[in-house]
């Protein structure tokens, strides 16, 4: 029987996503590098991730747009997003992050910071 993943990691940079999964190895996690695939999973009612570590700067669908679509179509689940950023954000991204209550993880992040965020799950 396969175990349902508790954490979704969305990042187009596979090595970074794999690192997060390694740090979070106490949890079952699923990695997606394609934001369109991430959207499908996030909107799938049969899936219920406890946390979504999401890169803000994604090609195709941005992290902010993934968040907005989840907030609209599965209200409440947007609270599970933890945004991963490289620090220097565009004015739009900065405004977006300032307007939501979700935690942000800045690259390069500390392993202990990731574990601390995971402990809140």
């Amino acid at each position: 029987m396969s175990v349902r993943p508790q954490i979704l990691i969305v990042d187009d940079e596979l090595p970074l996503a794999e690192l997060l999964a390694e740090i979070l190895s106490d949890f079952e996690s699923e990695i997606v590098t394609d934001s369109k695939e991430a959207l499908k999973l996030l909107l799938d009612p049969s899936l219920d991730y406890k946390a979504v570590f999401c890169d803000l700067n994604l090609p195709a669908i941005s992290g902010a747009d993934l968040y907005r679509q989840v907030r609209e179509k599965r209200p409440g689940n947007e609270r599970r997003f933890i945004f991963v950023t490289a620090g220097a954000c565009s004015p739009e991204s900065k405004k977006f992050l300032e307007g939501i209550p979700n935690p942000t993880l800045t690259k390069p992040f500390d392993v202990k910071t990731v574990l601390k965020l995971a402990s809140l799950i």
Partner: protein, 77 residues
């Protein structure tokens, strides 16, 4: 004195370039730093390897500071 249109365009391009530098350099930097830290924290490696990992972390933190210096340069707005 207000900026001309061409000066504003140059500034906007510089801002975009700085964001791209931060994003493109910090992605591999974050991966390398995280892996070095996992080695440092591991109980399965020798003290010598842990010391190497600590030195890698110091070097990568210096690189991150340099990226910060580049991205923090004001673009004359």
């Amino acid at each position: 004195m207000p900026l001309t249109d061409s000066q504003s365009k140059v500034n906007d391009s510089l801002e975009k370039l700085k964001r791209e530098i931060a994003h493109d350099l910090r992605n591999p930097l974050a991966t390398a730093r995280g892996l070095a830290q996992l080695i440092e924290l591991s109980s399965e490696v020798t003290p010598k390897l842990q010391a190497h990992a600590q030195n890698i972390l110091v070097a990568l933190d210096r690189m991150n500071e340099i990226i910060g210096l580049i991205t923090d340069v004001p673009s004359g707005k």
